[in-house]
Symmetry: C2
Subunit: 157 residues, 2 copies
DNA sequence: ATATCTGCAAAGACTTTGCAACCGC
DNA sequence: GCGGTTGCAAAGTCTTTGCAGATAT
């Protein structure tokens, strides 16, 4: 995390931008998250401890973190964007539990390789990809699949 | 497409909903699209020929089509949702050109199989997945990669 | 006849932008 | 001191909702 902050400062510096108190605090809070925060969520984390920071600044700083290559923005099909650390050495994908919302990460070389093949065959030049699996995590599937009481998980809705 | 309309009417009927002129026209326009329309886009298609249909009704009808299992809603990370026919026998994934926005579909059994493995290993019960590859399509990659005039594609934005 | 629909306008959720005061460098 | 920055409020998207008049069954 020390690294990340340094990288961020370096980025700001190179880009002729300023290392303000707000940016520092927001970046710090961001790097302290486990993973997958919304702008709002990060705002609350920061705001809790340091009142004078606006949601707008969080949005702007997240954009800077993206430009600095330190954050990825994800759209998991809910309304809002979630941000995660980009530094992770390996690219990874996500499994999202449709019941409890838990997000698990994984990586698989073979899939990546197959993607490469497909893309090449279609004449595309790949830049990045997004693979999301949706389903029930172990806990939720047990609850829904077994118990005679909890028959849901297929509600009309 | 005749099928689809019938299916839709049957769905409405069963659900105690009404087969109105608007729903008929919107569904018809939807089934006539090649693929991937936004609500707005569908609205324009319908509205062009039949003035008295509101965007709101298009949204509502698309929701019905989803409930009827006839449409899928996709989020390709732009602001808006795109809808496509759900009837397609096979599941398929998408390649999106980041330059011109062209969307190409493909399917690959091996990837699906690998996904199954991963998911099982992690104890998840998969419901559906989303695989999106982003890159430059043949046309755009030629334009950007070669021509000395068109150096962009990496603009600071 | 009546419960469902439609379209308009308004509201909502999320994100961006305009602007005057503010603050790193 | 200058130019980038902040926070507020306002505007912008996309989508949903409230409501009175219209319509399918």
């Amino acid at each position: 995390m020390r690294d990340k902050l340094l990288q961020f400062r370096r980025y700001l510096n190179r880009a002729g931008l300023k290392a303000t108190r707000q940016r520092e605090l927001i970046a710090r809070a961001f790097f302290a998250t486990t993973a997958h925060v919304s702008a709002e969520g990060l705002y609350r984390r920061v705001g809790g401890r340091h009142p004078r920071i606006g949601l707008v600044t969080v949005y702007r700083t997240l954009k800077l973190l993206k430009n600095a290559g330190l954050a990825h923005e994800r759209q998991f099909g809910e309304g809002r964007a979630l941000f995660e650390h980009a530094s992770s050495e390996h690219h990874h994908d996500h499994i999202i539990c449709t019941e409890c919302g838990k997000i698990t990460e994984f990586e698989n070389y073979e899939i990546e390789a197959l993607q490469e093949q497909i893309v090449r065959r279609l004449g595309f030049l790949i830049q990045y990809h997004k693979l999301e699996l949706y389903g029930l995590c172990r806990d939720c599937s047990v609850g829904a699949g077994r118990g005679p009481g909890t028959v849901s998980a297929m509600g009309s809705r």
